[in-house]
């Protein structure tokens, strides 16, 4: 994967604040997209690229928390950082429970904000990578024949070829052939790696 530039989405109903925050982030070399209205943001943002959203809590029409709900409903993976003018405890608790990365009060120190954004982007990036990885594995898995699939389950259970042959009623040799083909298709270098892969994509090892 290429490394696309992470995008920071700013959502605040007050222009001066948007302007100031944009300037600050740009000065620190970040890419910024500023939105005055939450609706517009929902329309425009992309969660398949690394990024994060910095959202003002108190906004008319759609409050920050409501926006958070909306994103979650939409299944967006974009991490959310909340900025607020008045930091009351219930709101912050709600926000964190809803899955926000962080909850900052205005006036916010630029460095603190950058740190939070970086953390968020890193997490997002990692998540995205993880997602990409899982997708690749899924693709590999789909190339396996059903028999191979079956053998795979037994292999990652740590069974000997002999045993697997006996469990499945197939000759050992054939098991060995399947095994090498699985390793090849899955692009795994070792048994340990194979086990890790199946764990990742959620394949259960067979019972002994």
């Amino acid at each position: 994967m290429k490394n696309p530039t992470p995008m920071v989405y700013l959502v605040d109903d007050e222009q001066p604040v948007l302007r100031a925050l944009s300037r600050l982030l740009r000065s620190k070399g970040r890419e910024v997209m500023a939105f005055e209205s939450a609706a517009e943001f929902i329309q425009t943002h992309r969660d398949d690229k690394p990024g994060c959203a910095v959202i003002d809590l108190a906004m008319p029409e759609l409050t920050g928390l409501q926006l958070q709900e909306r994103l979650s409903d939409l299944g967006s993976s974009l991490p959310v950082i909340f900025l607020t003018g008045n930091g009351d405890i219930p709101s912050s608790v709600k926000a964190m429970k809803g899955g926000a990365i962080d909850f900052l009060t205005k006036p916010v120190d630029g460095d603190l904000l950058i740190q939070a954004i970086d953390r968020a982007i890193e997490a997002h990036t990692l998540m995205l990578i993880s997602v990409a990885e899982t997708a690749a594995l899924e693709r590999c898995l789909s190339t396996l024949t059903p028999r191979e699939r079956e053998v795979l389950e037994h292999v990652v259970a740590g069974k000997m070829n002999k045993q697997i042959a006996a469990d499945l009623g197939i000759v050992e040799k054939t098991i060995k052939v399947h095994r090498s083909r699985i390793m090849e298709k899955m692009q795994a270098d070792s048994l340990a790696e194979l086990v890790r892969m199946t764990q990742k994509i959620g394949i259960e090892p067979a019972r002994p």
Binding site: P16, V17, L83, G85, K106, P107, V108, D109
Partner: protein, 764 residues
């Protein structure tokens, strides 16, 4: 004619028995002259008796006594004349003639005296001379034999007159008779002079009847007697009848006097009884009216009074009252006043009118009002005073009580005349203005209350006073008074007219309201404190919004500044960008400053202003302040405002307080309402009566009907942590702005709060 046998026959030789015998024998010829002369004597005697008796009854009427003597002398003269007329011998004649001189002397004396005392005329010296002359004549007569008139009588001729033989003397006349004639002339003159005097005096009747007739008759009788004397005429001498005529005339006059006196007596008695009657009536009237009538006879130094009058002064019913006695009844302290009253009355020719105390014998005191009027005699000197006295103890007690009440009043009370000068004041007024009452009396009221001098009409003091008191009561301005040291203090006055015996006055009641004013100020101050407290509490509840309002600009400033720092750290700094940044910083700073300024305004506890405010603008200010809270509560605001500028007069801070309160209450009311339905509608409009109507309508839980009024009362709240003062304070503020605040429930869900404020007037 047998009766003539009853004619008395004196034993002396005056009457001759033989004549009568002859008379009888001559065949019943009546002795006419004797009868007549006897009748004359009897008549005269009768008159003497009558008038003597009158004198006995009225000893002061000496006229009657002297007349009695006249009559008596006339009787004597007549009897003597009869004696000589019927004399038959010279000795008889001479005797009779001799005796008559006594009678004539008596006549002369008594006539002189009578004329003198009754007519009060006739020169005394002449009368005296006449009497003396006649006395001398009498004395000279004494030793004679045939009387002084005759030297000798030789014989008696008998002349029959009317059937009766009368005597005519034949003899020699004595020259001494001229002496007698002289006295007769003297008497005649005396009588004439008396007549003249009396006539001139105007008592013509008296003059004629008494002296003139006497004189005339004298003249005639004397003349006739002389003629008879000289034999030219037959006897008798008409002396007796003529003086009887005089006597009768005199008697008539006297009788008229007596009658007149009797009539007068009757009149006097009638008048006296009338007087008693009217006295009795006056007494009764006096008793009924409690009036005592009195008359002070100044010359006699005696005071008459009705029974009531006497009892009023504690004087016994029969006591004789002199002026000194009267003064004794008066209280020593009041005696001067009475004397002065009398003097003033005399000098000014005015009625006497004094009130004084009378000390009663049982040592009680009563107040008496005495009124009197002087009566003057012909010389213009005061002769009497007539008057009435009235017991005014009750009135005085009532007056004193009224005075006590006025004195005891906690307010200053002053009686002012219609020119503004101060009459009576009470002791509270003395204390209030710090002046003794003698100093205040006579001063003009505007010396104490200078505000009264302001006004167009300088002459109508009463009107000005009335107007000032009304306007001050309406709180149109503050009225102040001055103490003696010039210190000013606020007052309230009320004015009412009173009618007193001394005329019409204005009763002015003055209250020193310094304390009240201070209390009012204190109360206003406390109200202000409470409003401030409420406001601060409310703003405390808005902390969310407040923090937000400040944090926004602060956040901008911080981010901008840090961005600028970053830009400037680069080798090639984009200065344009930095300039933009700095401008933004400045703007945001100002915005923050503005927020703080507004906040400070709301938080301060300042003087209450009264300035024209645009209600829409005020509303916008408030909404800006609570914007964040509204967002937090999820409340959506809808405005329906008038397009024109709607001005009300008031304090901006306090008005914002009201609007803030209403908006926050509306938010709280919609806390349970589903999110999309939290609508807050605010409308403003101008009413017909030049007022501004603002409505704050929510879609919340509404207000129970029975609490629509009570929510504006203090300590009524639906919030568990609330004090319930917000709306109460709002109501106070609204009242001070002459407005109205009330709540209604909507047809649908929720309630509406209405604020009505009078529009600011065009004139400042």
């Amino acid at each position: 004619m047998r009766t003539f046998g009853l004619i008395p026959r004196p034993v002396s030789g005056v009457w001759s028995a033989s004549i009568h015998k002859d008379f009888y024998d001559s065949g019943r010829q009546m002795p006419v002259i004797t009868i007549l002369w006897s009748m004359i004597a009897a008549a005269s005697l009768t008159m003497m008796l009558v008038h003597f008796i009158v004198w006995l009854r009225r000893r002061d009427r000496y006229a009657h006594l002297s007349f009695a003597f006249v009559a008596l002398s006339v009787t004597g003269v007549t009897l003597c004349a009869l004696g000589y007329e019927t004399a038959s011998t010279p000795a008889e004649y001479g005797r009779a003639m001799w005796m008559i001189e006594f009678a004539i002397f008596a006549y002369f004396v008594s006539v002189v005296v009578f004329v003198r005392t009754y007519l009060k005329a006739g020169p005394i010296w002449l009368g005296g001379i006449v009497v003396v002359l006649r006395l001398l004549f009498l004395v000279m007569n004494l030793p004679t034999e045939f009387s002084i008139n005759y030297a000798s009588i030789d014989s008696i001729e008998q002349v029959v007159v009317l059937g009766e033989p009368l005597a005519r003397p034949v003899g020699t006349l004595s020259p001494w008779r001229h002496f007698g004639e002289l006295s007769e002339v003297g008497l005649f003159l005396y009588l004439v002079l008396a007549t003249v005097v009396v006539w001139r005096r105007g008592e013509k009747r008296k003059a004629i009847l008494i002296s003139a007739s006497n004189a005339a008759v004298m003249l005639l009788a004397a003349g006739h007697a002389a003629l008879v004397f000289h034999g030219l005429l037959p006897p008798p001498m008409m002396v007796a009848p003529s003086i009887l005529f005089v006597v009768m005339a005199m008697s008539y006059d006297l009788s008229s006097e007596v009658l007149h006196a009797a009539e007068l007596t009757e009149t006097v008695q009638a008048r006296e009884s009338q007087l008693r009657e009217s006295e009795k009536r006056m007494d009764l009237a006096g008793q009924a009216a409690e009036l005592g009538h009195w008359v002070w006879d100044m010359r006699a130094d005696e005071i008459w009074a009705t029974q009531k009058g006497r009892s009023l002064y504690g004087i016994g019913p029969d006591e004789r009252v002199t002026f000194e006695r009267f003064i004794q009844t008066i209280h020593p302290e009041d005696r001067d006043a009475v004397h002065r009253g009398i003097n003033d009355s005399l000098m000014n020719k005015d009625d006497f009118n004094v009130e004084y105390r009378v000390v009663l014998p049982d040592s009680g005191t009563r107040w008496v009002l005495a009124r009197g009027r002087f009566e003057y005699d012909e010389a213009g000197q005061p002769a009497r005073m007539l008057g009435v006295s009235l017991d005014i103890t009750h009135r005085r007690i009532a007056e004193e009580r009224a005075l006590q009440i006025v004195e005891a009043s906690p307010n200053a009370i002053m009686l002012i005349d219609f020119n503004g000068s101060i009459g009576h004041v009470n002791s509270k007024a003395e204390r209030m203005f710090d002046r003794p009452r003698q100093q205040m009396q006579g001063l003009s009221l505007d010396t104490l209350i200078p505000d009264l001098r302001i006004g167009a009409d300088q002459h109508d003091f009463a009107g000005r006073l009335n107007e000032v008191s009304i306007r001050a009561a309406r709180r149109e301005y503050d009225l102040n008074a001055c103490r003696s040291d010039g210190q000013s203090f606020p007052i309230e006055i009320s004015v009412s007219p009173v009618q007193t015996p001394d005329g019409a006055f204005m009763l002015v009641s003055v209250i020193d309201i310094t304390e009240r004013k201070q209390a009012e100020l204190e109360s206003a101050r406390q109200r202000n404190e409470l409003a401030h407290l409420s406001r601060v509490t409310m703003l405390g509840e808005l902390s969310g919004s407040l923090a937000h309002e400040l944090n926004q600009p602060l956040a901008s400033i911080l981010s901008n500044a840090q961005a600028a720092q970053q830009f400037l750290a680069k080798d090639q700094a984009d200065l344009d960008e930095v300039r933009e940044i700095l401008q933004d910083i400045v703007d945001e700073d100002k915005r923050a400053g503005e927020v703080i300024r507004r906040l400070r305004l709301l938080l301060k506890k300042g003087e209450i202003l009264k300035e024209p405010l645009d209600i829409n603008e005020t509303l916008h200010d408030v909404l800006r302040l609570v914007r964040s809270d509204l967002i937090n509560h999820g409340v959506h605001v809808q405005l329906q405002l008038t397009s024109e500028r709607l001005e009300v007069a008031g304090d901006p801070v306090q008005l914002q307080q009201i609007l803030l309160n209403l908006v926050m209450n509306a938010c709280d009311a919609m806390a349970q309402t589903p999110t999309g339905q939290r609508l807050l509608l605010i409308t403003t409009e101008r009413t017909d009566q030049q007022a501004v109507h603002l409505c704050v309508t929510d879609h919340g839980c509404g207000i129970p009907e029975n609490q629509l009024r009570s929510i504006f009362e203090p300590f009524v709240t639906s919030k568990p942590e609330g004090m319930g003062l917000g709306l109460a304070v709002c109501q106070t503020i609204v009242k001070m702005h002459d407005g109205k605040l009330w709540a209604t429930n909507n047809h649908g869900p929720g309630a509406t709060f209405h604020l009505l404020l009078p529009a600011a007037s065009k004139t400042p």
